[in-house]
């Protein structure tokens, strides 16, 4: 068969646009309102996409560009928009991301903001990040926003012993777990961003304009004085992260780890915390690890040699590939719409123990994943809800993790990180495979 020319179009994207990631990151800062400088539709689409995953209010303001703003510049819209957001929300920070339209017309947002005199008292901090959606994916927008926040807000001063933690776009459940881990090590950790409450909050009697929670601005300012920064992500662009920014500006040491998914990657994280804190790993996690490995042993035969397709954002894919490899499942395809160019190497670095060959491919869409899946005959898929149509066509289970999850509830409560996260993933994977075998069995044993 002749090799067909690749499609130039993207068919069923395995990514979203960069302003979405920026809005998500800004939502994790206390008292902040995300603001898009550009068309109204961008804000609305991004809200709908995020709301459908988190099932929480997600307000994103927009400057609502018109034709004349496109021709004559949107400075007036930007100023009025910021004034209106300040009036309505009384935010402590407004995170301003740009859309492709504004980037394309070459608007100098930085200059506009320098010239802007806020009507509100006290004036909110304004953080600006450039997020043209013709460059990178939502994950790049997320990291760019985090970097902009620390770059524009962190301050020098008397050094502290605290730890900066940049976890990436993990779930609210992951963020809560990270805080619990930090506190068990008695470490003073500033996590940026932290949407564990803002995007997974309780019922309210009175509507809150800006949901409670998020990384406090004071903690962000103090990040410039911390002892060390930890960032998660083996595919991060070394020079373009929040931790890199702090290293450059304030000389704060930076430790880059993979997402702590599975035993091996979690071990690296826990031993890093142990080294930083000068304390042994707390017993609660030692025991969690013990139970996790015990369960791996109990169930290893149920999962051995199974073939999985893993997809989603690059660093989650790397983490899942590490986890699957260590339990004897072959991640036959590790796919992402991400375009870092570092996915292949990162997956190779964590899948040395894989029972069979692993193919990692970045810059893929779901049409390409489907074509590969039809050949690879996987036993299951693991990733967000957008892979469902492929799993359905192949008649294999889909285990939902990561983002987005638009066809189940509880995406915000999925725990991926640490030994506890690995335990939940392991139980989900094993039981899905057991259920499948049971359902397919002509006998239907109720005792396995």
């Amino acid at each position: 068969m002749p090799v067909a020319e690749p499609f130039v179009s993207t068919r069923n994207p395995c990514k979203a646009c960069s302003p979405l990631g920026a809005c998500l990151a800004f939502r994790g800062i206390e008292g902040a309102v995300p603001f898009l400088h550009g068309s109204q539709g961008c804000a609305t689409y991004i809200r709908r996409y995020l709301i459908s995953h988190f099932r929480e209010p997600m307000d994103v303001a927009a400057s609502s560009f018109s034709e004349s703003s496109t021709v004559f510049g949107g400075g007036d819209k930007l100023r009025r928009g910021l004034d209106n957001v300040s009036r309505q929300y009384q935010p402590r920070m407004i995170g301003i991301a740009t859309t492709c339209l504004v980037e394309t017309i070459g608007e100098d947002v930085k200059m506009l903001l320098n010239d802007y005199h806020p009507a509100a008292e006290p004036a909110p901090d304004l953080v600006h990040v450039s997020t043209p959606s013709y460059r990178g994916t939502h994950v790049d927008g997320f990291h760019a926003a985090v970097r902009a926040v620390v770059g524009q807000l962190a301050e020098a001063g008397e050094p502290t012993s605290s730890v900066n933690l940049f976890p990436g776009a993990v779930s609210p459940a992951d963020l809560r777990h990270l805080k619990e881990i930090a506190s068990a090590f008695s470490l003073d950790v500033a996590i940026l961003p932290d949407y564990s409450d803002t995007l997974d909050g309780a019922q309210l009697e009175e509507y809150r304009k800006i949901p409670e929670g998020g990384t406090p601005l004071a903690s962000i300012r103090a990040m410039g004085r911390a002892a060390v920064s930890i960032e998660f992500g083996r595919t991060l662009e070394g020079s373009a992260t929040g931790a890199a920014e702090l290293e450059r500006k304030f000389g704060i040491a930076r430790k880059t780890l993979g997402w702590p998914v599975g035993v091996v990657e979690s071990d690296r994280f826990f031993s890093e915390l142990s080294a930083i804190s000068g304390r042994p790993v707390p017993q609660i996690f030692v025991r969690e690890r013990g139970r996790l490995v015990d369960s791996y042993v109990d169930a290893h035969k149920y999962v051995f040699g199974k073939r999985a397709i893993v997809y989603g954002e690059e660093d989650l894919v790397v983490g899942l590939a590490a986890f699957l490899s260590e339990i004897g499942i072959q991640p036959v395809l590790c796919a992402s719409g991400g375009q870092s160019g570092r996915l292949e190497a990162a997956v190779a670095a964590v899948t040395a123990s894989s029972v069979g060959p692993v193919l990692a491919r970045g810059n893929l869409d779901f049409a390409a994943v489907r074509e590969l899946a039809l050949e690879m005959k996987p036993d299951f898929m693991i990733g967000g809800s957008k892979g469902y149509s492929i799993a359905r066509e192949l008649d294999i289970p889909l285990i939902r993790v990561g983002f987005p999850i638009h066809d189940r509830i509880g995406g915000q409560r999925i725990l991926h990180l640490g030994y506890r996260g690995a335990q939940q993933l392991f139980d989900a994977v094993t039981n899905t495979l057991l259920a499948r075998a049971q359902d397919r069995s002509p006998v239907g044993y109720s005792y396995l």
Binding site: S9, L20, S39, I51
Partner: protein
């Protein structure tokens, strides 16, 4: 509640002030409008045409956010449920996207053999100056199918302008097919998008009355049907905000009369069928009798169960915030049928006459609002102590966060709410959310339990 200065005239309280509602204008900057954009308007209208290729020309976002999110069903091809995008990159923005568009279209048309292709321009296409029309003409000549540019740059107006751009694209299809063989007793169904199979229900009603349906535009839509839609004798227009332009031009161009209808709620659904029957009374013998019979039969089936819900819902208060105002009319009436009062109603794209009609329909004190935002909506819900909010995905968390029941009446829904059967579904849905015991556990619910006389 602080209402932005430039929005003050977009909120009206019936009875307290003279009616002078401001609407149909660009959203206030920074307001957090619930509206989308021109692209959204076009995309939502054309989306259900199932045997066409829909290609979004621009960076990835717009295509990503509109991939398979609608409940618009097809009885055949499923091509519309894919997301195709030129996914413009930095270099394309600098050098122009025409070549990429040409190649993308050629490859996709060869692969999927669609009956037509729609090419949606997003914001930056209007700025980088791609001649999308020319590329479409060229591809059309090369591939032998209609290739239709949709001028849907997001910033060029509001969602309503997107509806119009979609109608303009449709108008390039209408009239290009052979209408011979189309019966004198034939209609086009405009403005039903076949969410959860609604157009199939509606179509069946008309066929039982003795009518032929030429084209459904656009629910379960097919290119060839649309091309011969000008052969039909009557256009029935639901969702008039989106489809009126098409109906008006078809009237001017082909002399096809139109009627506004709605298929939501018992009154409006029945009225739609009766009006249509009256229109064809001289052409289709016995149509009016058959229609009366049809309505009677359907009502006999649904009314007893609805009466049960009504007993339990009577006196409850509802708020509505939807895309088009025309749907809101039907909802106010349908809620009244369930014994419920509408105390707040608004829309993203209503016109002044729509809001006037809403004002007429609602009781004293009702809040009427145009192009609202989450802070306003949440304050209205709290102020009026509503039991039910009807809206779309973006409105849902506002209701839920406050411990208020919610009914999704937007394009994402997977439950048929049109037709007689749809009214029964609607009643079940409303009852299922308002009567849920979970509210008792919420802060708002416990407060209300403690003080039952509200």
């Amino acid at each position: 509640m602080h209402i932005l200065e430039e929005r003050q005239r977009q909120v009206h309280r019936k009875g307290s002030e003279p009616f002078d509602l401001d609407c149909n204008k660009q959203s206030a900057a920074g307001s957090v409008s619930q509206r989308a954009c021109v692209f959204c308007g076009s995309r939502v209208v054309l989306y259900p045409i199932a045997d066409a290729l829909h290609l979004v020309h621009g960076p990835i976002g717009c295509a990503s956010y509109t991939w398979d999110i609608r409940g618009a069903l097809s009885s055949g091809p499923q091509l519309h449920r894919n997301s195709f995008c030129t996914d413009l990159k930095e270099l394309d923005v600098i050098q122009g996207g025409e070549k990429k568009l040409h190649k993308a279209l050629t490859q996709l048309i060869v692969e999927h053999q669609p009956k037509a292709a729609f090419v949606y321009s997003t914001c930056i296409v209007g700025v980088i100056g791609d001649d999308v029309e020319a590329v479409c003409r060229q591809i059309s000549a090369e591939q032998g199918i209609p290739v239709l540019p949709v001028h849907s740059e997001g910033f060029k107006g509001t969602k309503r302008d997107g509806y119009r751009a979609a109608c303009e694209a449709l108008l390039k299809l209408v009239g290009t097919g052979d209408p011979s063989g189309v019966s004198k007793a034939s209609i086009n169904i405009l403005g039903d998008f076949n969410l959860a199979g609604e157009v199939w229900m509606i179509r069946k009603y008309y066929e039982r009355m003795g009518l032929e349906v030429t084209a459904t535009i656009t629910g379960d839509g097919r290119v060839d049907d649309i091309r011969r839609a000008h052969g039909a004798a009557l256009n029935l227009v639901q969702c008039s905000g989106s489809m009126m332009h098409l109906a008006k031009v078809m009237k001017d161009r082909y002399g096809i009369p139109f009627r506004k209808v709605s298929y939501f709620g018992i009154e409006d659904m029945s009225q739609a069928l009766y009006d249509t029957a009256a229109h064809f009374a001289g052409v289709v013998p016995g149509i009016q009798e058959r229609t009366v019979e049809l309505v009677r039969g359907e009502l006999q089936y649904i009314l007893p169960e609805i009466a049960e819900y009504r007993k339990r819902l009577a006196g409850k208060k509802a708020a509505i915030y939807v895309g088009g105002a025309f749907k809101a009319f039907s909802l106010v009436r349908a809620l009244r049928h369930l014994g419920m009062d509408t105390v707040m109603v608004g829309s993203q794209t209503g016109l002044k006459e729509d809001y006037e009609e809403l004002r007429e329909l609602c009781d004293e004190g009702a809040i009427i609002v145009d192009d609202s935002n989450p802070l306003e909506l949440s304050s209205f819900l709290s102020e009026r102590q509503v039991d039910l909010f009807i809206g779309g995905v973006k409105e849902r968390p506002i209701a839920y966060k406050l411990g208020i029941g919610f009914c999704d009446h937007n394009h994402e829904r997977k439950l048929a709410l049109a037709g007689f059967e749809g009214m029964l579904n609607f009643a079940r849905e409303v009852y299922g959310t308002v009567a849920s015991p979970v509210w008792r556990l919420t802060p708002r619910g416990s407060a209300r339990e403690a003080a039952p006389c509200r």
